[in-house]
């Protein structure tokens, strides 16, 4: 069912683990459908300095999680955010059709982690010191007290 590249990532997954105090974290999927992935990021100078994953799921789920981390480690965020489900599946040399939804989850977990990082940066702008590296996002609503 799975080709050699998928099996390699399944038996020797890259970047397994959890970054402590991550700059961004994303978890997608749910136990009901049987695949859950969690990606944590360390961001430095706008690049993904480190990335780790944890996955509850099948062969394709683990392989796609591993591949997505390999694809984006070291990339600037603007490029990492462009990595799609198809890119992950293609990098693995293809997946059986009934397993393609697993590759969706891997890309989604990455994007959720990036959004989480960006959201945290957005919230940091406001009353209080800014690190000066990021432009403040336009706020549609009046400033609220930080939670």
């Amino acid at each position: 069912m799975y080709n050699d590249k998928v099996m390699d990532h399944f038996f020797h997954p890259r970047n397994v683990g959890e970054i402590e105090n991550p700059d961004g974290a994303g978890q997608v999927g749910n136990p009901i459908c049987g695949d859950v992935m969690r990606i944590t990021l360390r961001i430095k100078d706008g690049k993904i300095e480190d990335i780790k994953f944890k996955t509850f799921g099948c062969g394709a789920a683990i392989a796609t999680s591993s591949m997505v981390t390999e694809l984006v480690k070291g990339l600037p965020l603007d490029e990492a955010v462009k990595v799609s489900n198809q890119a992950v599946a293609e990098a693995l040399g293809g997946l059986p059709p009934q397993k393609l939804h697993c590759s969706n989850l891997a890309a989604d977990a990455l994007h959720t982690a990036i959004e989480d990082y960006r959201g945290k940066q957005g919230e940091a702008i406001g009353p209080g010191p800014s690190d000066g590296l990021l432009k403040p996002r336009p706020l549609a609503a009046p400033l609220q007290e930080p939670r």
Partner: protein, 395 residues
């Protein structure tokens, strides 16, 4: 990546509920009927007569295994076709008497999908539930009976979790109420002793390839006097109930397999039960956060089904396969659908626990060393997968 290079010598097959190898004696019995005695059993000439004798002999052996008579055995292409014939055949034959069928949530898909199809054709079906052991309560079946009920179908040996259902009790009830009663005995016939009169069934499904016979042949026991509408039409074969040139080699093989099963059953079931229990207790003690699925004692002698928390089934199977161990799972990913095993869900298991199920079904080839090998191999696989998992405490 060449996975075969460092593969261990030992190969351990633990999927005997999926299929079994053909026994040497069975193969030997079949061979003459491929090219030497190859006649069509319905032909008048000597080639036909040879084939007819072989078919009758095979039929006799199949009947003997379940305490039936020769004329009550119909050959089909397998368990699935037998289930189809039983359900559709009785439903349509008795349509004028009523349109209600009672079955269970834990049946094999061959029964469930056929019932769903019958619902689309105007029949009403009640799917009775089970307890946490996958055991059906006869009282739940009784409660579902209406004046319109024409058929009850409750399986004997549950194929996923091994629970042996109270078929005899339900049989008594069905007889009192005059309702036709079918059981899918694909996993039980040839593995545990059974007799159609003790069970009180009117129809019983059997499959050859589960008991060391060839694939592509099964049987339906039909009690004398049971009204049934043929589904495969086109000839007078099998007393007009199932058309098609007899699969002589298959029938001969199936007959031989039944005869051997009957002879070996007492010793084999004792041995398998011991290996089964060793494997179950080994897993439950060596790997934390595991649970047994199915009834602990009222259980098929060869069936082990456990849920390993925090880990998914297919990923366990792939790792086991690397170590040349073959098993199966009830996870969604192994079934090809988005839902895990309908049986485990019917038993009340949460989805994520159902996804982590592992089914290992033993057979004649398995030894104590095989069990030891599995018990050495599985715990590190589980630890590694748990370290990678989103859920659970670190091991």
């Amino acid at each position: 990546m060449n996975r075969e290079m460092n593969a261990p010598e030992r190969r351990v097959y633990l999927d005997h509920s999926a299929t079994t190898p053909v026994r040497p004696e069975v193969l030997e019995a079949m061979l003459p009927y491929f090219s030497a005695e190859y006649g069509n059993a319905s032909s008048v000439h000597s080639w036909g007569r040879e084939a007819r004798i072989a078919v009758d002999l095979g039929r006799e052996k199949v009947a003997h295994l379940i305490g039936a008579t020769l004329s009550e055995i119909i050959f089909t292409s397998g368990g699935t076709e037998s289930d189809n014939l039983a359900l559709r055949g009785v439903a349509w034959a008795k349509r004028s008497k009523g349109n209600h069928i009672i079955t269970t949530k834990i049946e094999h898909h061959a029964v469930l999908h056929t019932c769903e199809a019958l619902e689309k054709e105007g029949f009403k079906v009640t799917y009775v539930g089970c307890d946490k052991y996958g055991m059906v309560d006869p009282e739940d079946v009784r409660a579902a009976i209406t004046p319109e009920t024409i058929l009850i179908s409750v399986m004997h040996g549950q194929n996923e979790v091994g629970t042996i259902e109270p078929v005899a009790e339900i049989g008594k009830m069905a007889k009192e109420k005059g309702i036709t009663y079918h059981t899918d005995a694909v996993q039980s016939a040839g593995r545990i002793p059974l007799s159609v009169n003790d069970l009180g069934v009117d129809l019983l499904t059997m499959s050859s390839h589960k008991i060391y016979g060839p694939k592509g042949i099964g049987a339906l026991y039909i009690r004398k006097g049971t009204r049934i509408a043929p589904q495969a039409t086109g000839g007078v074969h099998e007393r007009g109930l199932r058309a098609g040139t007899e699969n002589v080699t298959g029938i001969v093989g199936f007959g031989e397999a039944c005869m051997l099963a009957e002879k070996d059953l007492p010793e084999e079931s004792k041995q398998l039960t011991a290996l089964r229990d060793k494997l179950i207790s080994g897993i439950l003690t060596r790997i934390p956060d595991t649970i047994l699925n199915g009834h602990p004692t009222i259980r098929l002698p060869h069936n082990v089904n456990v849920s390993v928390k925090y880990v998914e089934g297919e990923s366990m199977l792939l790792n086991l396969d690397l170590m040349r161990i073959g098993a199966s799972s009830g996870s969604a990913c192994t079934s090809g659908s988005l839902e895990p095993s309908h049986v485990l869900l019917a038993m009340g298991l949460p989805h994520e626990v159902a996804h982590g199920s592992l089914r290992m079904t033993l057979g004649r080839s398995n030894t104590g060393e095989d069990i030891d090998y599995v018990l050495e191999t599985l715990p590190p696989i589980v630890s590694r997968l748990r370290e990678m998992s989103v859920f659970g405490k670190p091991s």
